[in-house]
Amino acid sequence: MLEPINVSLESLNLMTLAPMLIPIIGALLIITIDIIKGGLHKTLYVGLSLLFLLMDFGALLDASGVFAQNGTVMGVFDVMMIDGLAILSQFIIVGASMLFIPLALTHKRFHEFSYPEFFALFLFMIAGFQFMVATDNLILVFVGLETSSLALYTLIAMHNRDKSFEAAVKYFTMGALAAGFYSFGAMIFYALTGSVEINQIASVLTANKFEDMGFVLVAVVFMLASFGFKLSLVPFHTWAPDVYEGASAAMAGFMSIVPKIAAFIVVMRLFEFLVNSGVVWLEIVIYAFVVVTMTAANIWALIQTDVKRMLAYSSVSHAGFVMAAVLIGTTQANSALFLYWALFTFTNLGSFSMLWISRQKHLPAYQSSDHSYDKFAGMIQTAPMAAVIMAVFMLSLAGIPPFALFWGKIYMISSAVNADYKVLALIMALNSAIAGYYYLKLIVYMFMREPIVGSNGHVYVANATLSLKTIIGFAAIGTIFALIAVNPLLEFITSFVHASGF
């Protein structure tokens, strides 16, 4: 007979659930409101979402305070794990979401934002991501991942036009395949170690000194394939440009940040111990991934004719760049990952928001796609302020100092240097130069070409409302004055990463 189990409530540490529960409650509330009284304006839902995200953020602040005092907290039968990584990544997730949500208040009406389900799904998705990062249990990771992914597919499709359906289907199908890979990988890990908890897996593998190297590698391969998909590492990246193009610009910006940071956390947890325990094969493979992803994505970005697609490839490339942190695996590298991503959040969301703000419903004849380069020709003359801001974002993405991403870049390269990855550091640097070209291309269009006859500055602010402008303003300020924030950010991140043992 089974013995009844006595569990003390304190030992559960239910507070660890708080940050995830808040958005879930929010989502449920939104659905409830919609059921009770439909047809309410989207501002209500935006407000509510923002409110819950704020509360979430507050809960995270609280959790970070706890972490700073007590270190890593395990909760709810040790499934939840609130360590520095979890907190930092959740900050980014929630922060980016807060920047994203107001983008719903566009001037023009878009399908998804007119339905409260959108906001509910969005909040569920956030909760899913939060679960994903706040555990080292592969099951919960999987469930969290799927929760968020399924919501995300729907959110993309809800943009409701052919391209977005296509994008959603592509994303979904590949996601399903990736889910298969994930479960297979997890299965082998489980077969090897009898556990689905990363810490456990690590300790078992270390204890038997990687006897079954072949099996470990197979497991790693499937995990790599699965997360390679999420992180859009070449050759698992093929969805990225299409999905970004199909989704609304705002959603694309969001996608380039939040799902990836969540995946990065899992990858860090899963792979870094492997890399650090001397699995040479993995080191080589990740090295190759980093180099190939950075370079190939950069090369493809060069030839794009649509800004959004270009940015899609660019974010693939950035992901490759950041992947280097997993390879290097030092505290500095891991801190660099967070620093980079935090700064990337501002810049990339900003640039996608700039596309969003200029989104038209019906394309003029000279424009082949939503955001073709032609559209931005001569922008400096018709909408100087917008052009300057966009240029700042592009420069930041290219890594021109003193804009935000530069700091992430040097810290990351520095970490490569310090860990004696000389060639990698050089490749990372030179890739920035290649990347410079396509960012410049947009600047060239905006600043150096004559505007196309018949287009006026209104195009660039077709969608503008106060809230959009505010978000862009936030992003721009964050990008331009990152300099000031870098030091506190760095100290904060480093202490957290260090305290989590990474």
């Binding site: 659930l17 039968f77 389900e117 099951i139 969290g144 499709a157 036009r161 077969a191 204890a207």
Partner: protein, 191 residues
């Protein structure tokens, strides 16, 4: 002995069913084969003593999933032959062979798990369902709840996507059209 016979029988059957699923050009065959395969898989669960899992498998797959697929098939009218253009068979067959070879290689050696201890050992004389329940509602409580959320998400997603809401695309309509639609809706509400 019985175990071996059962294993090989069901292994053969599942493989055959799934093979049919991926090769047949008749959607209906594929669906049927898939459903059969699922059932056979549940047989493995029972063999392996995972009664609960077997039951869930049957309920969920044969009950829910297959019903959904069947519904979908009717909706899509894919009972007729689906013409699939297969561009490069070489890649597919090559990759399949490669996968198969790798499988053999991988499984050539048994998994050695010497210093492994069960985290949640099965207790003798206790029903599988009970054990599962015990673990599910302690250790895996959170995943369980999250799974619930996930199902909710899936439900909402399904409703949103398949429902009427997607029929009119606000994204594609110009602002004037949107306004018009709104007004009509309001009229309906009034009348």
């Amino acid at each position: 002995m019985f175990e071996a016979v059962a294993f090989y029988l069901f292994a053969f059957l599942t493989i055959a069913m799934f093979f049919i699923t991926v090769t047949t050009s008749q959607a209906l065959y594929a669906l049927t084969a898939l459903a059969a395969g699922m059932i056979f898989i549940s047989a493995f669960f029972f063999i392996l003593g995972a009664d609960f899992l077997g039951a869930v498998q049957i309920v969920v797959y044969s009950g829910a999933v297959m019903a959904l697929y069947a519904f979908g098939m009717m909706f899509f009218d894919t009972t007729r032959d689906v013409k699939e253009k297969h561009g490069n068979k070489l890649i597919v067959s090559g990759l399949s062979i490669l996968v198969a070879v790798l499988v053999v290689v991988i499984i050539a050696a048994p998994i050695v798990s010497t210093n492994m201890s069960a985290s949640y050992p099965m207790t003798e004389g206790v029903g599988n369902t009970q054990e599962v329940g015990m673990v599910l509602f302690t250790k895996y409580l959170v995943p369980f709840e999250v799974a619930a959320v996930m199902l909710l998400v899936a439900m909402i997603a399904g409703i949103v996507l398949a429902g009427k809401k997607m029929d009119l695309s606000l994204t594609l309509m110009s602002d004037d059209d949107v306004r018009q639609v709104k007004e009509e809706e309001n009229k309906k509400v009034l009348s």
